[in-house]
Symmetry: C2
Subunit: 198 residues, 2 copies
Amino acid sequence: MTQEAAREPETLTPGARKILDTAAGLFYERGITAVGVDLIAREAGVTKKTLYDRFGSKDALVAAYLRERDERWRDWLTGQVGLRGDADPGERVLATFDALAAWVRRENPRGCGFVNAAAELPDPGHPGRQVIMGQKRWLRGYLRELAAAAGAREPGRLADELVLLHEGATVLNGLGIVDDAVARARDLAAAALDRGTG
Amino acid sequence: MTQEAAREPETLTPGARKILDTAAGLFYERGITAVGVDLIAREAGVTKKTLYDRFGSKDALVAAYLRERDERWRDWLTGQVGLRGDADPGERVLATFDALAAWVRRENPRGCGFVNAAAELPDPGHPGRQVIMGQKRWLRGYLRELAAAAGAREPGRLADELVLLHEGATVLNGLGIVDDAVARARDLAAAALDRGTG
DNA sequence: TCGTGAGTAGACAGATCGGTTTACTCGGCC
DNA sequence: GGCCGAGTAAACCGATCTGTCTACTCACGA
């Protein structure tokens, strides 16, 4: 019986857990297309049969990788901003950049995993593509909320600017051509905030 | 006799020209790893022998693709800015965003070709990787010159901010999640310019 | 006790990967 | 006439690609 593929249960079997962790590392560090299922299975200490039994296809595994990364990032961002629930709304907007700074230090030496994945998944029908778009849309929506709470005259416009700064900082950080890219983005965000909430 | 690879003459043979044009389109639209040399040769109406006689290896062809893209972008940017040689220096900084806006409309529907390529070329020794780093360094240096001419107190810092805005706008434009991303970047750049040249 | 879900081990399929090779044609140039 | 650069045509190499398959083990739960 072929399984639904692209929908994995909230609790993974031990084998599936190892596969997903291994795939996540390899996909991010070497690229999605460049990493084959044979390599993933071998590195995870698992057979290809297990991989296909659990995930159904490579595309579905890619989507699962992106979904989990998305979830971790959202939890991290909202958690960090939540720690400053008592701060003034403008501070909370800027806190997203502090959260980003810590995140890229820990998890993003090679740039945004979603932007990188998007470069390799041009097909709009690819299951991973929808995860990517969802991630970006969510971020914009979240920043828009924070912007509105901070009294932005045009929350949508400010959110656009903040997303732009987030993405630019992440990408630049990955290329290593500008240091403290996230700090620069935070500075620009503070200025945009001033302008946008006058 | 193995040829030097990665150094092609300034004038290409007709076959090499077709190969490079075809490869450029395929690499950008489908990704580098996903496009094989067989496909490139077939689409270019050329045999694989010709491809290897002219370019030596796929890696060298990738580097040639990136070099030519780099050259086109530099020519476009400096050309557009040059058209406003009589404008005030601050206007010239902002003109780089107008040049970028026209560029992404014409050539960048899928985001920055260099950022996308960097996602697929993690190996620092890859010949294409050096082209990418050179491109970003050049852009930062060019913006730094313009920033200095505009009277920036810290031209290096302002250049970092401008590069960040350029990259963020390009990436966001490619993802299609924010419209007028380049216009937003231009607004932010104008504000940064005000702040940085007080 | 019996069935089931999760797993190993490993062969197999057909296609494609980057890259090499041999044999040949054609046009220009000295 | 003779050489050479540029090209075609097509076979070939070993490796790897995604995906399927059979056969078997093991632990657990009804």
